[in-house]
Subunit: 346 residues, 2 copies
DNA sequence: CTGAAAGCGCTAACAA
DNA sequence: TTGTTAGCGCTTTCAG
């Protein structure tokens, strides 16, 4: 009767028996609850170790209504940034006793279905990246009192809490530094096609600053977020007129493409003839062939903010979402002539 | 008494009541089990939709002893390949009704602890990437009859099942194609420092083929897996003697560094003076500044194999692990003079 | 095809 | 501090 089941995993009852205590004391010992004498705890832990006991998270979650899982719902992951964000979130979550449940929304689908799926696991919270949940789904999470946080993109009009790089401020800083170095004619290479929000914020900050400094509005070329788009942008700029003094790109890949086009096809020198600044500081920005000046997103700080917001929020604030902006770091290399941020007071 | 609890989630009992059936029929309907008449099923589904019922995976897993979670245990994720592997695994798992539980081993730690943690969620299987579980942990999983699969690295002497790019065969192919194009003096830029296994397999395949063709053994430079390592390798090769005809790199980043050093510092043309071949086919391999010929790992096929192995294995074969090798695709661009694989019969 | 009943392994009152 | 007891929401025999 004892081994009627197939494998009969070791349970807290077994541990209790071995340690000569009741099952509920074992439970307390393993849920870090107070009210267990050190001596008893010692005995329990020893018995548990001997038996190879493992605290069943499913049973615990079922009764607690919290699974110790943090759901990470993602759209299409492409940027290396996504990988380090995933890794950092996972590390920080684990440090606090949670683990990451990953749900990806298939290409073309929105993330609502993925969020719905994940709900069945009773996560402690949901982090959305590389996509934006619908207003309906946001409301549903609020109704369930489940914290939901959007990371890496601006929520726009959506009433979600979010953690995001301060794209606009970073773009302003880039503009200031370029202006201070004497540049007057600018272009912005956007990636609107792939994703409006963050590219738009960068464009807005950059263009507004340039214009209020009395310079002509930057020429905006919209060729997607790829290397190819950046490469093609050089031609596009020439067709519009002459090349500008400085180009700010919505992403590093664009910048690399543009630099290659400028140097190889046009035979112009960077930064002597034209300055280039990117965004994201991908690993290859530091490579000898580019040495790209770029804005680095602080992944660690962003992940920190996410975990913080998620686990400190008792009641998610529907209608009054928190928005946390993490500043970007301007990493200065040799692709642009610019005044260091300190010198221009930004 | 009904609303004594805080939120009282919708349960299968509620659905049963609304649909006018017993709770167990609802259970059957939602677990795709047979034995529910179409009419009843229809009523149940409608009631469930109206109430906003969600099949509780925790309760299901508790009784079933399988959580519908597929554990992905990872070491340090750095390669873009890891991201697409994660994404593909997640997509394929979801398509079969499973979701991915991610556990990362903190830098420096082995993955045993992470595997242990994950066991508490009763996953259907474990996938290990960017790290290697200890023999003890492998044995433990086998004892629990829990499939464990290593992906992306050679298990070596370890008795784990694995899915891995056929590094050695790919390296042989590269060697054949370079030999057929007339190259005679070779070098291999390894990344042993970062990770022995896969780099060694590539080295083995490459060197053995070159030697058996009657050429001198390739000079092996071991500078880590980074761009900087590749850059430095050019100098290292010059110090040893003269530059070889062709260089095969254990990773694309190495190749990019090497190419930049060769072209910028040494002023030599690629592939006219020297051929370069990489491994992994990172996105930038196709960029105009590199056009790197490289071996592409078939991520989709690998993920497919993993899921297949994991979910088809009734009893994991301890002592008789499965090893699945997925061929690499040689993507030919312009960084190397080489005969196409078809021409040399490989 | 459907229903009743017995748990899965655990937590959380409550009582001792 | 410890033990007793009642479930969490579900699957699964076993009868009807």
């Amino acid at each position: 009767m004892a081994d009627r089941k197939r494998i009969r995993a070791v349970t807290s009852v077994d541990v209790a028996r071995a340690a000569g205590v009741s099952q509920s004391v074992v439970s307390r010992a393993f849920s870090q609850a107070p009210g267990v004498s050190p001596a008893t705890r010692e005995r329990i832990e020893q018995a548990a170790a001997e038996l190879g006991y493992r605290h069943n998270q499913l049973a615990r979650g079922l009764i607690t209504r919290r699974s110790n899982l943090l759901a990470l719902v993602a759209g299409v992951l492409s940027n290396p940034l996504h990988l380090s964000l995933i890794q950092t979130l996972s590390r920080l979550a684990q440090a606090r006793g949670y683990r990451v449940l990953l749900a990806t929304a298939p290409d073309g689908h929105d993330m609502d279905a993925a969020i719905g799926d994940v709900l069945a696991y009773m996560p402690v919270g949901i982090v959305a990246m590389a996509g934006t949940p619908s207003a309906a789904q946001v409301g549903e999470c609020a109704r369930l009192k489940l914290p939901l946080i959007l990371v890496g993109r601006d929520p726009g009009a959506s009433l979600v809490s979010s953690v995001c790089c301060d794209n606009e401020a970073a773009a302003r800083q880039v503009a200031f530094c370029l202006l201070a170095a004497g540049h007057r004619r600018f272009a912005f290479l956007s990636s609107r096609v792939a994703d409006t929000a963050f590219s738009m914020a960068r464009e807005r900050g950059f263009c507004a600053t340039v214009v209020s400094a009395g310079c002509p509005a930057p020429i905006v070329v919209n060729g997607g977020s790829s290397y190819a788009g950046g490469y093609a942008a050089a031609d596009a700029l020439l067709n519009v007129g002459s090349l500008p003094d400085a180009v700010f790109c919505a992403g590093d890949a664009i910048a690399f493409g543009f630099m290659d086009a400028v140097r190889r096809d046009l035979g112009l020198s960077i930064p002597d003839r034209i300055s280039v600044v990117g965004f994201d500081d991908m690993p290859m920005a530091s490579w000898a062939s580019y040495e790209l000046t770029s804005v680095r997103q602080q992944v660690e700080a962003m992940a920190d903010a996410v975990i913080d917001l998620l686990l400190s929020t008792d009641v998610p604030d529907l209608g009054r979402p928190t928005k946390r902006l993490v500043p970007g770091d301007l990493i200065i290399r040799r692709s642009a002539r610019l005044a260091p941020p300190g010198a221009v007071g930004v």
